[in-house]
Subunit: 162 residues, 2 copies
């Protein structure tokens, strides 16, 4: 047999295999409060099935450019006690659509304006809409983690000093 384990609980290895996420990353996510697990008598992690979905969600969100901190925030809207229902996930999904739309719009602007800026003859990449408007976001934290983060310029406008 492959699973002599409580009802529908998964070992860390199984979660790793099914999600494609390393054991070490799963432990790390747990330490960061993104996922959780019960323990076997011997102290090994036992994940409930819905952890697969949580992990999938985490990876997807990362691909969209969000930090683990932001993701933790979103996941916090899911119930800890009971298995999230379809409705719980749907709520989360709906809440995120605008975010995704925003990111997409940003990239499209980027593409179109990169082309036209360079093609148009002005050549003033640094002066045009492409470079400046959202740039404040890049100065927010350290590093490029906030790139594409969707932070609204207004929120940072007074911060651009440095």
């Amino acid at each position: 047999m492959i699973r002599l384990m409580p009802p529908e609980l998964l070992s860390i290895g199984q979660v790793a295999d099914r999600t494609g996420v390393a054991h070490s990353a799963l432990r790390f996510y747990e330490s960061e409060g993104l996922i959780s697990a019960s323990r076997s008598d011997g102290g090994q992690r036992r994940y409930s099935r819905n952890t697969l979905r949580r992990v999938a969600f985490i990876r997807v969100a990362q691909r969209v450019g969000l930090s683990l901190e932001e993701i933790r925030g979103a996941l916090a809207s899911l119930p800890e006690s009971r298995t999230p229902t379809k409705a719980d996930w749907a709520r989360l999904s709906v809440a995120w659509r605008p975010r995704l739309d925003e990111q997409i719009a940003l990239l499209q602007r980027l593409r179109d304006e990169l082309t036209s800026c360079i093609g148009c003859g002005c050549l003033s990449l640094a002066a045009c809409k492409l470079y400046n408007p959202g740039d404040a976001a890049a100065n927010l934290g350290s590093g490029p983690r906030y790139l594409l983060s969707g932070v609204r310029p207004a929120e940072v406008a007074n911060n651009v000093t440095h």
Copy 2:
């Protein structure tokens, strides 16, 4: 006077002001081979005007989710010796369009499938197109730097073991 300086050369402070990029970051970019500068008699950096464009390009590229290493690669296609012409930049821009298109398509797939996956009743986020196809890329390097990187699954397909 504000500039008692060689023809059209800029100090690091001026470049910092005009690009919105910190002095320290400019030095860092130089150390990484992304930009370069001549020196004054006293050893201070003197940037040529086209550095502004290079820096702008760097920040834009970062917003699209590319690492400095990738960006260095792209910038390497610009001439070091002479000031890049409009044609040089246009070539670069054209080369990047597919990249941007790819990123946009990825995000759109993400958005559409996140909605339909969760809305459809299957609820199997982990099993569906949304999560799996590009996921190989996430296992490529360490960390999420390769997210959205556009690495084609084929290049990694044999790597997904871990």
